[in-house]
Amino acid sequence: MRALRYFFGVCLALALVVAIFVFVARRPAIAPIEPPAANSFAAAQVRRGAELAAIGDCDVCHTAAGSQTFAGGRAVPTPFGTIFSTNITPDRDTGIGRWSEAAFRRALREGVRRDGQYLYPAFPYDHFTLVSDDDDRALYAFLMTQPPVRATAPSNQLPFPLNIRLLLFGWNSLFLREGPDRANAGQGDPLKRGAYLTEGLGHCGACHTPRNFLGAEQTSKKFTGGEAEGWTAYALDGSSPAAVPWTAEALQHYLQHGFDAAHGVARGPMAEVAQDLRTANADDVRAIARYVAAQHGGAGAPAPATGQQVSAQAQRGKATAPNSADSQAEVLTEKPATNGATNEEGARLYTAACAGCHEGPRAAPYGGIDLALSSGITGPSARNLVNVVLYGLRAAEAARSPIMPGFAASLNDRQIVALAAYLRARFANKPAWSDIEKTVREARRAERAASTRPAPSEEAIPPPTQRTSSNETEDEKQ
């Protein structure tokens, strides 16, 4: 009898706790509206919204490969499961056609859908909460004037209890800090403007800041580097692995073209970001570049080393190959391994498969970048290098862009491990990577989607000039 009473007592207490949680956590629906007519928005506002949407990379996640822009359905892999992006076209039934501006703003700032359900933080509302009223309005105007597409995203693949959206109330209480900085959007001060865009709509930290076990960004480690969809997102602060420190000018070029001769090529999700930033407002991109360069500790300060210096250092003792119409620019001498590398197989593979382009006389895109400058080799993990060696760099359509064939079919895991270890030892002044075998296995397992992302379609590479001076040419262009 007593046990039974005890049991009922516990049940009642639990039910009470759940009821209180639900009462506190529940969010109201916002009344649906009739989809606003496209001509109810000012053209200038729509245009501004388009530029902002490019800064926010909305289409990157909200577009599935081969389907219509903003119609959603793209699988976003997370450590917790797969989340499918939603349809943000103004379709009445399957999109956001019946969302009022208030509902749209609430979603961006608080991560709550029009119907009151919580959104998952794969949607970076923890950043978008910093976006100003005006910018929210422009984004709304832009999205609501896009062609409506009828498309319903597949259901998320999340295990219990993560599939209970109400639990995100807890996540939000812990990690969502609603924007204090949205007041004037940093107008008038490029550095403040850059901070506003980088921290808010640009959501750079979503990939470039490491996340904790609950999937929230570790604010104490802001910009120290993270991970995104099987790619390493490099550190943006003083711990950046770049062989040549980034300048605001180099960053701006990289952000707009997906390529910088002194650093390398944007791949994976960053290629898509660059694709979008091409259409963003140039002043906004410049502001982001300035702010991010300032995180490196080098806003406008003269760089300690230029690409030429790093290149020259790496190329000491390099044989100059004669310019040849032949495909394989012969590399005349076996290069001595530096930094104590004694990796015979890696050295042989490098000389035979890589050096022809990466040390040959051809200018980009037919010649590869100087590997001493590549963040893929100086970076904290071998993953990006392995991704590129396996799957190559696809050509952009109708434009010069970096290209490289993939070697997934012709090199086995052992060979790729040897090659990666050799490249690290020879070109990076950094300790060896650990467990490259595991990295290669993971990269092989990962979706080949990694390889099929679009390259930036704007011409990323200047017309052929002398290859060693291409870095300076980039800088002068700014």
């Binding site: 032949d326 495909s327 394989q328 042989r348 593979l349 000389t351 035979a352 498969a353 382009c357 037919y366 190559g392 050509a395 290209i403 490289m404 064939p405 070697f407 997934a408 079919a409 012709s410 090199l411 086995n412 060979q415």
Partner: protein, 159 residues
Amino acid sequence: MKLNVNGQPHDIDADPRTPLLYVLRGDLQLNAAKFGCGLGQCGACTVLVDGEATFSCVTPILALEGKGIVTLEGLGSNDHPAPIQRAFIAEQAAQCGYCIAGMMMRAQALLQKNPHAGDAEIRAALEPNLCRCGTHMRILRAVRRAAQMMQTAQAGEPQ
């Protein structure tokens, strides 16, 4: 060094850095694979390495020891064309023909793994190979025909 090409072991006397394509054409007189761009960008040089379509122009032979290389000559001959070759002939898929050997090898790699490949998969798989004559639609028809032949006759294995 030793290379296994079309099931036959070969002793190759060449710099181990030599691209496979040069060894195939220059040393073994297997001339189906073509030199196109030399950059692994056009696919005319495509052969199979352990069943995977591979650009032979950018693959040094030192990476290939112990692996099985198959060229178009390994699939069939004039007298006994393989299903993929019969299909390309039936659809008259060649215009100038320079890309066709590479196209057939890449299609073969796909159909060996998945004889039921649909149109989208065929298009995606053939994307690395370029044709400048514009016979793409015939090539696609030929690959679909080859897929049907392989499904019905289960003749997909290279000889």
